[in-house]
């Protein structure tokens, strides 16, 4: 387990120190959300209604942005080969990298989200469920994105290909995430069902994502 923690801490250090750019994700999140009022107009009533959905889309795009470098950077300097031949099973290696990725890109979003919620005039009563849903749902975005990151590193093509592969798979997270954080639909069906399904999706992707990504890496990099 020492290797697991060592890898996790290493990845977090790389992300947080010079050249890592973990906070760029949070800034990107901020900018995506800020562009929305320019696109749909500054009508606070409308913004308040679509606010949770805008925050979810921003979180989705921001976590996608950083996934590109998850394995690619390690692949370029050769450390991925060392990690793959190490004693730690590849699935756990990937899990450590994924957790580090979420801690450095997903968690900052949670801190920015209340501020953006204020700017979008989201009902304060909705902010609690929204934050709960985001904190449960963003790990799933990372774990699903792992598969795309592993596939695109073996093909040496990132960016657009990653988005094309990952975005369709994240639709369920978006559906249940938004319906858990939306007061109107929560009043209809209750916060519970959507939130528990979101938790289930997150846990399932926690189990399946590392295995699929490990398979992709093993078969892709010979």
């Amino acid at each position: 387990m020492n290797a697991f923690w060592a890898l996790l801490i290493r990845d977090m250090r790389i992300a947080l120190r010079a050249g890592g750019g973990a906070l760029i994700g949070a800034v990107f999140f901020l900018i995506v959300v800020v562009t929305v009022p320019f696109a749909v107009g500054p009508d606070l009533k409308l913004l308040g209604r679509i606010g949770p959905a805008v925050l979810w889309l921003g979180a989705l795009l921001a976590s996608l942005l950083a996934l590109d470098r998850l394995f690619a950077a390690d692949h370029e300097d050769g450390s991925l080969d060392i990690l793959m031949t190490g004693e730690l099973p590849l699935e756990l290696t990937i899990l450590a990298k994924a957790v580090a990725h979420w801690l450095t890109t997903g968690v900052p979003l949670l801190f920015v989200a209340p501020l953006l919620g204020l700017m979008l005039d989201i009902d304060p009563a909705a902010m609690g469920p929204l934050l709960a849903a985001l904190s449960v749902g963003t790990p799933a975005l990372t774990f699903i994105g792992l598969v795309g990151a592993a596939l695109s590193v073996s093909l040496r093509r990132g960016g657009l290909l990653l988005a094309v592969i990952v975005l369709p798979l994240t639709i369920p997270i978006l559906v249940f995430g938004v319906s858990a954080s939306d007061l109107a639909s929560a009043a209809r069906a209750g916060f519970g069902p959507a939130f528990t399904i979101l938790c289930a999706l997150s846990l399932a992707s926690l189990v399946l994502g590392p295995f699929a990504a490990a398979a992709a890496l093993r078969h892709g990099l010979d």
């Binding site: 596939l151 073996s154 290909l161 369709p168 798979l169 398979a215 992709a216 078969h219 892709g220």
Partner: protein
């Protein structure tokens, strides 16, 4: 015949060359019969003649799922058994499956306009089928961007296995959620609820579409094998020219 005997591409090509004309002829024949029956089928008492869109829509929807199922099995063949033709089968199935998915979406939307009053709704069945189409496009994008065919095939195999999650969602979406799309009316406990006068042409059309898929798939697999041979020969030629 064991699957292993098909592993030899030359033997496979010989078998395909022998089978393909028969499959093509059977497809043409049954498709013609199905179309005649479909045209002669009575109009629905509510929908009128628009019900005939079903004869294209439903088989295409089934085949869109069959296409991904073929890719999933082929993905296991690639990753687990390392069957040499499995990735050819998966690559050949992807564009065909995407085509059937598109036909399903377009005919469905044309059918939706007169019956539901809208071309598109964000409904569970429609959305999950659209996601299936996007997944097909993702797999195709993987094939387009892969420089090395083998590597692209293994990447696509992993994505096929992951994307197979969408198949049960498409299938059961009408049972799990309240949907504008009608519920399961053919493969259900208690037998189909469609009148025999419409069910029979539908069954014939489904058979025709299935044969069409098999024909196109075998032909596409043959083309892919030949394309790879051409590629190998070109590379050898380039090497000789350099030497």
């Amino acid at each position: 015949m064991a699957m292993i005997e098909l592993a030899n591409p030359t033997r496979f090509l010989r078998i395909v060359d022998r089978l393909l004309p028969w499959f093509a002829a059977a497809t043409a024949l049954i498709l013609a019969a199905g179309l005649v029956q479909a045209v002669q089928a009575p109009d629905d008492y509510q929908q009128g003649a628009t019900v005939k869109i079903m004869f294209l829509h439903v088989p295409a929807a089934w085949l869109s799922m069959v296409g991904w199922a073929v890719m999933t099995v082929a993905a296991l063949g690639t990753l687990v058994w390392r069957h040499p033709l499995a990735d050819v089968a998966a690559k050949a199935a992807a564009p065909i499956g995407a085509g059937f998915t598109l036909i399903c979406l377009i005919t469905g939307s044309l059918w939706g306009r007169p019956t539901w009053g809208t071309y598109w709704v964000w409904d569970a069945r429609l959305t999950s089928e659209l996601v299936l189409f996007l997944l097909y496009l993702g797999v195709l994008a993987l094939y387009w961007t892969a420089e090395d065919p083998g590597r692209g095939a293994r990447a696509a195999a992993v994505l096929s296995l992951v994307g197979a999650i969408d198949l049960p969602i498409v299938k059961f979406s009408v049972d799990w959620w309240n949907s504008l799309h009608q519920g399961e009316s053919i493969f259900r406990a208690g037998g189909p609820v469609i009148d025999a006068s419409i069910l029979w042409p539908l069954a014939v059309m489904a058979m025709a579409f299935f044969l069409l898929f098999v024909t196109l798939h075998l032909a596409a697999m043959r083309n892919e094998i030949l394309r790879r041979r051409v590629r190998t020969m070109q590379m050898l030629q380039a090497q000789e020219a350099k030497a």
